[in-house]
C-alpha cells in the first residue's frame, strides 16, 4: 500500500512536540486510537517517564521527541502486551532503537503487535538522565543543549545504527524540518486525519537529513569500535573496564531484550558455601565480592548479544557509570553478522539461537 506524506504545521512559539501531541490528541478524540503509550514529563520536570494515556487532556506534557530516554519503550510495550493483545488500537510512540527492541521481543514472544499502532519518531539522540537533571536544575533548556553539543548525546545515540524508524505504522518526522513542521507518514488514512499533503521539498529535505545523520553516526560508531578494538582487549583491560561493577544487575533489568523472568545469573547457582569462596580467594589471590562479575557480563553476552539492538539502556542504568553498552554493542556487531542477522531488522529473520543451518560456522 501507498505511504502518504502529510505535514502538521508548527506555529510560531510552538514546538514540534506540541504539534505532534495535538495530532495524537485528535486521534484519541476521534476514537482512531483507544490509548497512546509515550513519554511524558515528570511532575518535577526533571525527566520523562512512559505513560499509557486514554484521555486526550492527559496528553498535556507528553512528548514524542523527549531528549532523554530513562527506559526503553519496548520494555513498557512488553508489559502491556505480553499476556494479551489490547482489544482496541493502542498507539505506541517509539524511537527507532525501541522499535528494533520491540521487533526482537515480538520474536521472543514477549510482545504482541496485534492492535498496536507503532508510531515511530525521528530521533535527534538523547542525553543521559543525569545530564538532563543537571541541566534542568541549572536552569538550562536540555533540548537546546542537546542540539548544540554532540558530546552530550549518549554514546549509543551518537553511534546509533537506526537513522530512521523501520516497521512503523506511522511516522512522526522532524528531520530536515528545522522545527517548522512535523511530517506524518502512514498508509492508514485514519491516522492522517485529513492533514495537508507534504510538499515534495520537505520529503526530500528529510531524506537528505536521514542520510546525513546515518553518515555522522556511522563515523562516530567506527571511532568507538576502533577504540574497543585497540584499547579494550585482553583480561587486564576487561577487568579494568568492569572493575567498578557492583553486580547489581541493573543493566540486565533495563535491557529491553533481556527478558527471562528468572535470570540464570540470579539463580541459586551463584550462591556458594563460605568454604568454596575462601578456596577461590586463596587460588585467585583475592576474590571480588560480590562474586561473578566477569561471568555475569560475559555470560549475558553469550545469552543475548545476538539480539542486542544497541540502545544503550545498560549504560543508562549503571549506577557506577560503566560504559556497558560500548562493549555489548561492539561484540554484537561482531556476532550478529556470523548469522547474517541484524537484531531489529526484520520480523521474518528467525532468531539466531532458535534456528541453525546444517552447513555453517565451525566445525563443519
Amino acid at each position: 500500500m501507498e505511504q502518504h506524506h502529510r505535514t502538521i504545521k508548527v506555529h510560531a512559539g510552538e514546538s514540534p512536540s506540541k504539534a505532534a501531541v495535538a495530532h495524537l490528541k485528535g486521534l484519541l478524540k476521534a476514537g482512531t486510537l483507544e490509548a497512546v503509550l509515550l513519554q511524558k514529563a515528570t511532575a518535577d520536570g526533571r525527566s520523562y517517564a512512559h505513560v499509557l494515556v486514554t484521555k486526550p487532556e492527559e496528553l498535556e506534557g507528553a512528548d514524542p521527541f523527549a531528549p532523554v530516554m530513562p527506559a526503553s519503550c519496548a520494555t513498557a510495550l512488553s508489559r502491556l502486551t505480553k499476556l494479551e493483545a489490547p482489544k482496541g488500537r493502542v498507539g505506541v510512540v517509539m524511537r527507532p532503537c525501541e522499535i528494533a527492541a520491540a521487533i526482537e521481543l515480538t520474536k521472543l514472544l514477549q510482545v504482541r503487535l496485534d492492535n498496536v499502532v507503532v508510531i515511530g519518531t525521528d530521533c535527534h539522540g538523547t542525553m543521559s538522565v543525569q545530564d538532563h537533571i543537571r541541566l534542568v536544575e541549572g536552569g538550562k533548556d536540555p533540548r537546546k543543549a542537546l542540539e548544540g553539543d554532540v558530546k552530550l548525546h549518549r554514546e549509543a545515540c551518537r553511534t546509533c545504527d537506526w537513522p530512521e524508524p523501520q516497521h512503523r505504522d506511522m511516522l512522526l518526522g522532524v528531520f530536515g524540518a528545522a522545527g517548522g513542521h512535523v511530517m506524518v507518514v502512514a498508509e492508514d488514512e485514519r491516522l492522517l486525519a485529513g492533514l495537508p499533503e507534504a510538499p515534495r521539498e520537505a520529503v526530500a529535505a528529510r531524506d537528505a537529513m536521514v542520510k546525513r545523520v546515518a553518515e555522522e553516526r556511522a563515523k562516530a560508531r567506527a571511532e568507538v569500535f576502533h577504540e574497543v578494538d585497540t584499547k579494550l582487549q585482553g583480561t587486564v583491560a576487561f577487568g579494568a573496564h568492569f572493575g567498578t561493577c557492583i553486580v547489581c544487575h541493573n543493566c540486565m533489568d533495563q535491557c529491553p531484550v533481556c527478558y527471562c523472568n528468572e535470570c540464570f545469573f540470579e539463580s541459586q547457582t551463584f550462591r556458594y558455601e563460605a568454604e568454596k569462596m575462601l578456596r577461590w580467594a586463596r587460588t585467585k589471590g583475592g576474590l571480588d565480592m560480590p562474586t561473578d562479575k566477569a561471568i555475569f557480563h560475559l555470560g549475558r553476552m553469550g545469552h543475548m548479544v545476538a539480539t542486542c539492538v544497541a540502545c544503550g539502556m545498560c549504560t543508562q542504568a549503571c549506577p557506577v557509570d560503566i560504559n556497558v553498552g560500548r562493549v555489548f554493542k561492539y561484540v554484537a556487531a561482531q556476532v550478529q553478522p556470523m548469522f547474517d542477522y541484524k537484531a531489529g531488522r526484520s520480523l521474518k529473520d528467525p532468531l539466531p539461537q532458535a534456528t541453525y543451518l546444517e552447513d555453517e560456522l565451525e566445525p563443519r
Partner: protein, 149 residues
C-alpha cells in the same frame, strides 16, 4: 592450580601442566573416550572430562565458568553433523558456542583456549589425537589469564 602463573615465564613453560575441561556428549565423544581408554591409546592426563547428555545442553556460561574458575582450556565435543541423538542438539550447540568463541575473540580474551570438535563413538583414535594436540597447544599458550578475572 593458579600458583604456576606467579612463576617465571621460562620455568612455567617447562613445569606448566594445563587443566583442560572437556564437555563430552554421552552418545558419542564420551564413548570415544572409553574406546581410547580400552584400546590403551595414550593421551595427556590433563583432561577433566564432564559427560553431558548432548552438546546442545552446554550453555555458554559452562564454558565461561570453566575458563574463569581455573581451566586453561575448554574442549567441547559432540556428534558429527546429522548424527545427533536429539536430531539438532549439535547444530544448536555450534550456534550457541560460536557466540562465546566470537565474544572471547572480540575482546581479546584468548579464544584459542576454547575448542569445539565432532568426535563419534567409534573415533577413539581421533579423541586421543584431539586431546593430545589441544593439550600441547594450551601448554604453549601457558597459564590462562582468564582465571584471574
Amino acid at each position: 592450580m593458579t600458583t604456576d602463573t606467579k612463576e617465571g615465564a621460562g620455568k612455567a613453560a617447562t613445569a606448566f601442566e594445563p587443566v583442560i575441561v572437556g564437555f563430552f556428549c554421552n552418545w558419542c565423544t564420551a564413548s570415544a573416550a572409553d574406546l581410547a581408554g580400552t584400546s590403551r591409546m595414550q593421551y595427556p592426563p590433563n583432561l577433566r572430562p564432564v559427560r553431558v547428555m548432548c552438546t546442545g545442553s552446554v550453555d555458554t556460561s559452562f564454558v565461561l565458568r570453566a575458563l574463569l574458575e581455573g581451566a586453561d582450556g575448554v574442549l567441547v565435543s559432540g556428534c558429527h553433523p546429522g548424527d545427533c541423538h536429539y536430531v539438532s542438539g549439535n547444530y544448536r550447540a555450534r550456534r550457541r558456542l560460536s557466540v562465546v568463541a566470537k565474544t572471547l575473540e572480540s575482546l581479546g580474551l584468548e579464544p584459542e583456549r576454547f575448542r569445539f570438535e565432532w568426535i563419534s563413538a567409534s573415533e577413539g583414535a581421533k579423541f586421543a589425537e584431539v586431546v593430545t594436540e589441544f593439550t600441547e597447544k594450551v601448554k604453549q599458550l601457558g597459564p590462562s589469564p582468564l582465571k584471574e578475572l
